[in-house]
Symmetry: D3
Subunit: 339 residues, 6 copies
């Protein structure tokens, strides 16, 4: 049966304010005005690659909420499940991000407390939503926002699962939102429902207290929980402007680990959202081909490319990603553009 | 005895985000990044005209707080009495402002709830502060922010009065912060301490339930309370880009009303802060010359000029204002620039 | 029976390049990069006011086509019926527009020949499209683009009419695309199918050779053709930065002319698209309330506001428009913003 | 005998720094970077209208001098007679200009002392230059720069006169460069050589101590000196954004005064250089048609249009100017753009 | 006999639109607005180094054509042989270029079909043009534009050769304009007239089916055709932001190969036009000194520097290039700037 | 006894004009507008790290002087000892700076002759100034500006020394201001008063004719003069965008050389002012802790970070610098940002 959506995600959309270029937050006359958010970044990437996606979120019913909605649509994501907060104090969460150059480091400050997203309710959405998608995704950030978000997210996972959707979950641990202990307890309640699990090696060790090699850790999650696929990324930050990025995917059913050569020395323009772009690539691969190697290659390429694009949101096209993958597999030797 | 400051004001500094030119908040790629706030606007104007001023305020101890502090200093205002909020959730209040052209109207949305300013405390400041200035100013906005701000403001008024300062107060009624009834009750507790009172005719009628002509209303305040000087502005909004601005000052002691021809058909660039600029001009006039007619002329001119300057904050110089006053008195006939 | 769309329109989306501010096309370092087009402007306005709309168009399958698609979505318009031209020479039509100040006049140059839109074909679209909307709109510009567009448009008018849609048509005569004689012959073939007809008095006289008063002309169209509603706008260009705008609507069934006081001395920022914005307002009014007076008021207000917004595309919200209408009806006296 | 140039002018090119929009010089992060100068403005306008012109000037042999040269060429003016100052302290004069809105006035500060132009020498140029042009122009600004400039300008006037060129001279009195007395004495030494003389009524009265009506004054110059044509402009500054501009030309031979209705309520964007643009229009008219009425109309139109263009330099095209003249003569009623 | 020009080139000027920084074509609010074109890039570089050059081209007689002309003059190139297309559909060809960072690649789309350049005719130019220059240059792009351009270019080569000019030709193969087979057949008709030939090793192998070492290939061209000098560049694209560039020149008469150490790890800002900048450097060297080693060094340095400059057009000065060459020969050790 | 200031410096504030990004001075439409100056850069850094500083300087009493004053305050520096030049020809010195990418080199041109700073006088300042600070700093640039500056600086050194301040001096040799011989003679008159001396190895060899190893040279200064601490920086310019920076400090009393691993491969955004930032870090370290190792680490880190920040002026915070130092000492391995 064909569903309306390939992917729906639950998450907050934030206003992002960044000084242009290498300027600092405490100086200068302008902010770049963007929208971002972990789950929004994921669905945007999947839409740009060619599938149908939507964001489930609550926005303030004001001008900044309208800006967020417009940008969400601009990125190819459906606004069918955006709901609006008409409270007098309705607010869009925001953050300021400043990029960096070695030895300076990127700086970020958040101001998202009490945002409209924290007031989201199951009753905001029709029951039909839960059977309208092939896959549902959310992250640890949504769980960490507040108690209400946590409960709504949990209930949605149950309802989407019942509705026949695959459940994809990214730990995305943020120390400024909750403790590792809180994260672990909450996520362990979710893992029994998760089909596709994203967790970095570091987080597995620090938050879930896992031991052994990275691959052993990945496998152990699939042994403890009915997870089908687990993906783990590895980022090496040489400098703020130069990263190396790769990943491993483990398919529990076949017991196969999928890998490829990492992208070395990525010329980083804006690293925010590149982890989400990885998830976009992997989910696109899984939902379009079902092939784990293919998913891994999309994931690595979309993430690597995202690092070169300003803002949280990816801006990718399928043909471009496939050319980059082909060139990467051919040895990564950079050729000139076509003209 | 010479005091360190001519004017100290208590008030919040806000981050102001505005789309450039005639662009709308829900579109576009950039925000102009400014700092504003009623009392800050006042002290900035007074500093630029040549007196020594400072702002009493609480800022978040983060990058946006640092930006606010830098801009406050840029405008010639002392940061001696800025204190910093080190809470994890410390935040700078913000607002988005969009200018307009007829028949469109300016739009503004606020997101200032729970800002660091609302946590200000008397204990943040040394006792010496209260005897360090010739004049202390605050507005109804500060009173309206929250219960705590209200109490701190009241206590500061008492303490500054004891310290020998003149007390200047601007009603500045904002319907999105409190009701007229709340405003009236609160302000009536303050009026016994106020020396210089700013209240528009509309507010006097609607909030204080005053009757009679504008001049009768002004006089009546000075009869009910020991107010020395009361100033009342009159703005006619022809279109968002064309205003007329004038005012009346009443000196209770002499019983004289001071007036002059309004500034007609001001070419408005940004009307925000022009009321505060009026207060800056009046206070500069009173504190530098003590002459009410002079104060009125400075007030009208600084306000009229502020309307032509982007942002909340005035940007004026004494010689420029004096030339504008002279030309205005000579009939307002525009002459060319000198070169 | 509920339909998927309230309004579908057939038309070309163009890249618009404009120098910023008052700069000239033959100088300067940047172009503002926008998307516009008569019918797109109409559906964008109707979507922003709250109905569901889509654009029927053909875009090049390249990066500029992707930009157009993203911006169309940004404005709330569905991309369900956008099709893509994969030819090697596929191109997005473009134009350069430069605003002006008296005595300078706006300047515009077009480069739209052979654009992907001119290759549009009925076979690009599913049959279901023709029964999916309550109203279908197009303009004389689409008819004038090329022989193929003319034939596709005519056939679509027939098919949408059969599918139960109201047909709205705007003459929008452009002397640089065809002659008055060509326009008249073509449009007279369309008028038997048109329900809602937009034609200015000047065009009626010059192109259709109508005589009599403006109202007599409007009525005569409804006598010759089965037109239900005809709307005619009147714009007075005082200077490039100051216009007066009003309109008349004639309802053939009741024989009533609907009018209101024009918007005088609009502070024009960008007049392009304000005629389309008028149509958006009128169609919104007719489709949401069916009331001609209401449609007229929406039309005038949306058009007047559009003049204050940069770019072709409107940026309006229903509550804002309703406040402007209320204030206009109350005498147009400008009040201050609320805060 | 055909000459290489229609017009050569002697004058300084200055770097102009302006804050964007309504921003102030003492704030903000950017300056617009332009080149201007009275005589350069004149030759640029004449070139844009279609004649061949060049600037005689001395620029520093550095990067700012190269910028000036590039911009001069951009505007269609020959760089054949630009010479370069290789001194270590060679400098380009500069000025900062800030535009205004009522009641604010434009502000300007100059920093041009000791610029490379002040070191210009007759020996920098070949003798052939003096017979290469139909007309030579300079202004009182060049005379006022320094003693050396004064002497070089005088000698050039003699040499160009001998070479068969018409001599055009604009008083362009600047009180910040010299006194009225100095100006008068110097210019009276030049007037015996001047064919086309530009002098405003105010300057005639204040500097040359002329009495009588404006027309009597104009005529009196032609009686005292062998001046063929004298032009006098009248600018009314309603506000910094609204001017009225007209002029009178007197032809000594025929004794006829040429006039037309002024351009009323020009929507001023940047008034700098509009006087020079007038001269450009008049000289274009005289050099292309020899007709004084035509020259007057070009002068008024080019000046009026210049007021709507940012920067000192005009940006005009002959067809645009002729359409504006035609519309102005038809009653000035603004019609819409053609499309 | 002294000629008016050192170099004339035949080629198209294109409007180039680029998103700023790392932004993408399908997003964002502005385009950088530039002019470029292979032959224009060459003559601009040669002019900036100090020789007299002009472009032979046909531009639309509209505002974009005027912009192109202004920019061509800005870069020091004569507009004496620019002719204008007054057709209603006259258009300036354009392209969009987006820069990149690894692993993203630059993207480019062209929209140049039917541009005014394709209508160029020999009869547009005076016969004197063909004897007015020491050297004439064009490229394979001009040949590939259309049949007409091909014929005009061929005839111009014959006429300039007769007029005593050296003929310089750059293959500049573009797969989006023609096939290798078409290119080969056309260029082989030209080679009998070519004195200075630019062809990369790759193109020689792929298009001309050459075998052997790079040097053998170069020599073989001079054996088959009366070519005096052949130059071949080698670019290694490490990443979009890091290239290595070097070249070899072979002088047929002496049989000597000229080489030097390549410029390693160039910090690439904009690689477009760097091949043309190489030709500019080589032609400057040959035309100013006649020395091949010198020409090679200028070529390599001008190309390397062009990579660091935004836009197609070089921006170089002779003294800067000579300092860079000196430093490169001294071992490439970067020293600090002088101050 | 507590003093009002920790650091006062004597030096010129210059207007800095830079083209944005990689653009060149001789092209483009905008300049970034900044303020800089060696001593100002030093006091700004020290203020930002938390001490109280002021600049002793003379600014023109005009709009550019006001801009300089505002920016000085913005950076946390006191304007108590800024004095104003009211002369008609008062001017702010300026320079243009253009950044670069390999093989292009940064370019700079100065236009500072006769600036208001050159008219500074001891009588401009109250006697109390000389006892108000713990440390006084100036550089060779101030000495080189003119004879008057040299004499004022010398006298101030004597007076501050008498007032109990430490004297810090940076040679900062500029070949465009004076010869090595002049520098040596002047500085040798100052060294008897200097407590903290900054001199690079190159300058020591070239200007002071020193022999031996870098450390021997440092020690020799302390043997010839009563210098307590001497610091010497080592910068390796790999390319304009990649530098390595380290330093050595020698403490004469203990005879210890302090060193640490240099910062390798700094990603340079703007190298101007990084030497001054080093001094800011060292003086902050010495004045806050008195510990030479600590001073060295602050100096290296502040300088390294300054290279990543646009403009002359540093923008640093103590906590950021301390995190960078900690990470550098831990092996320089870049970790991700915290969030």
């Amino acid at each position: 049966m064909k569903k309306d959506f390939d992917l729906l995600a639950l998450g907050e959309a934030l206003l992002r304010l960044s000084p242009p270029g290498n300027e600092r937050i405490e100086r200068g006359d302008v902010f770049e005005k963007r929208i971002g958010g972990a789950e929004l970044n994921v669905v945007s990437g999947v839409s740009q690659l060619g599938l149908r996606t939507g964001l489930i979120s609550k926005l303030p019913d004001n001008l900044l909420g309208a800006f967020a909605k417009n940008r969400i649509r601009f990125n190819g994501v459906s606004d069918d499940y955006l709901v609006y907060d008409k409270d007098k104090d309705a607010r869009l969460g925001l953050y300021c991000y400043e990029s960096a150059a070695y030895p300076r480091k990127p700086r970020v400050i958040y101001d998202r407390k009490g945002s409209s997203m924290t007031k989201i309710s199951l009753s905001d959405f029709p029951d039909t939503m839960f059977s309208s998608t092939r896959c549902f995704q959310t992250t640890g950030i949504t769980l960490a926002l507040c108690e209400n978000c946590r409960e709504v997210a949990m209930e949605m996972i149950h309802r989407f699962k019942e509705g026949g959707a695959l459940i994809a979950f990214d730990v995305n641990f943020r120390g400024n939102l909750w403790t590792g202990q809180q994260a672990r307890e909450t996520i362990e309640r979710i893992l029994p429902y998760v089909d596709i699990f994203f967790c970095s090696e570091d987080t597995a060790r620090l938050t879930f207290d896992k031991k052994g090699t990275a691959k052993e850790i990945m496998k152990s999650f699939t042994e403890e929980y009915p997870i089908s696929i687990i993906a783990s990324t590895q980022r090496i930050v040489h400098t703020p402007k130069r990263h190396t990025f790769g990943s491993v995917i483990y398919d529990a059913k076949s017991g196969i680990y999928y890998e490829e050569e990492p992208y070395h020395d990525i010329e980083v323009v804006d690293r925010i959202g590149s982890g989400d772009a990885y998830i976009a690539g992997v989910l696109y691969g899984l939902l379009s081909s079902g092939d784990c190697q293919c998913a891994l290659e999309y994931g690595n390429a979309v993430s690597a490319v995202k690092n070169t694009i300003p803002g949280d949101l990816p801006s990718v096209a399928l043909d471009e990603i496939e050319r980059i993958i082909a060139e990467h597999k051919a040895g990564g030797k950079a050729s000139e553009m076509d003209r």
